[in-house]
Amino acid sequence: MFLQQLVNGVTLGSVYALIALGYTMVYGILELINFAHGEIFMMGSFFGLLFWWILEMTGLSKVIPIPLAIFLMFIFSMIATAFLGALLEFIAYRPLRSVTNRLIPLISALGASIFLQNFAMLTFGSTNRVYPAIFPDVGWNLFHARISLIQIFIFITCILIMAGLTVLVNKTKLGRSMRAVAQDYVTASLMGIRVNRIITITFMIGSSLAAAAGVMYGMYYGVAKFDMGYLAGLKAFTAAVLGGIGNIPGAMLGGFCLGIIESFGAGYISSEYKDMFAFLMLLFILLLRPSGLLGQQVPDKV
């Protein structure tokens, strides 16, 4: 039981962590809660499904080996969603960049989120869409817990993506400019960094991570639905805050913590209250550590 819940929690947590990264990266740079990020995740899931439909229609799904098909599904969905994220930034956020009131972009994000959700409903229908069960249903029993191949796959892919992101942010020139923009974009622009381009790239990276999470989520639960972004987005945002918003390792930690808490709460106490445990835990941790697990206390500027 314990191990089983842990495995389930880690799987769920990996998905949350990937979505939370998108929230936290955008927040780190623009101090903006990207409310439409949950919808980006949902669109990512649908883009993956769309790619599979294309494969089926052209008959390629029988020709291409399954690992390659899955890989291509991820790549297609991540690229398409990255452009969607960039488009979102361009339409809904960029015109509001100079607005000082931070609630304004928030409401714009809300509008974008309503738009995307209804767009998905109109194009993909309002019912559950079945995800192809292309993943072989194999698993291993380990100390009375069943670990399936897809769970291992999700965990390893997440770790790889996160490692890649960490290297990108900490070691490359792009990463350095991202950190510079996050710290102080005025100075960064004086240093010759194209702030707008960096912001667009940040949105693209965040969105493609959400897309990867969306495809995994679809494969894991076997369905995609137009309103799946709402709760997943809310949870991922909670995870980002739990870890300390704006902090990349924090988002990963927060995602895993949230997934595990939820899974244990559902397994040991009651599955009806599982969403509540996530939020109660959040309240509890924030009361003890007001800026999240890894967040730093920023003193007020006078």
């Binding site: 509001l96 989120s113 918003i245 209250y273």
Partner: protein
Amino acid sequence: MMNIRFRRRIKNVARFWNNLDMRLKWGILFVIAIVYPFLASSQYYVHIMNLAFIYVVLSLGLNIVCGLAGLLDLGFIAFYAVGAYTYAILSIKLGLSFWEILPIACLTTALFGLLVGSAAFRLRGDYFAIVTMGYGEIIRILANNLTFLTNGPIGIAGIPRPTLFGFKFEDPFQYYFLALSFVAISIFLTYRFQASRIGRALEAIREDEIAAVSMGVNLKNFKLISFIIGAMLGGSIGVFFASYATFVSPESFSFMESVMVLAMVVIGGMGTIEGPVIGALILVFLPEALRSLSDYRMLIFGALMVFMMIVMPKGFMGWIKPRRILKVAEEENSFVTRDF
């Protein structure tokens, strides 16, 4: 450009409107509001107006927390839910009347606001926002699962309707005047509150917390008061909602509702009193106006919300009435952010 001419025309109307005396202004509006149900072509439009009135009071309540004290509350609908459930439960289980429950519900929501507020005020900015979102969700989940009290996801049906001196409120037309009096009282209270010592202290907090503290404003107490007053407005209209719909279920109190109320406040213009009223009317009537587009209605609605924010980033009130005083400070800020 037609756009500019249109805007200028609106601004001329607005200038005329702004120069009117405040009492005259609201007087005119109330006369219109009283005549409205007699002119409305069907009960349906009266019903929509009643819904709009509910949102008007909700956004006035949120405006006290958000616009006046500058706290981002993403779980405001929780107070509304507490009010609605208080009425539903007390009227069915104990048989109390509408007028008895109204003060009780106000007290319950105030206590609830105090509880949440005193825990949340240790946090700043977005952390505060997420905690308010958390309690909003917790209330909804509790309503969903405390089946013995709330009847779970099925909801409570058959809630008794209010009576006044033997007169029973039944159709939207009769409810209309009850709703209107709720709106009138809320507007009056908000005006008085904003002009009071507490209201001015809250505005000082919103503009600059540190300056306000050094002037001797007790941050925590004043923020709590704003929270409680907002909560009471939300709770009281929750009572009205439960009695009007005669049915409550957790579905009516989702996070999306909180965000919609916030959108009403922001779209109308935060910190003003006309703003939330206009915002609520716009966001309730817009989907109605778009009804002919059927399936595409909410799609267009979302796009229009983005568009409205881009065109009038200070809300509707800020759009028709630019505030000169703040201009210097804003230009200073936008100097660095404008073009890079």
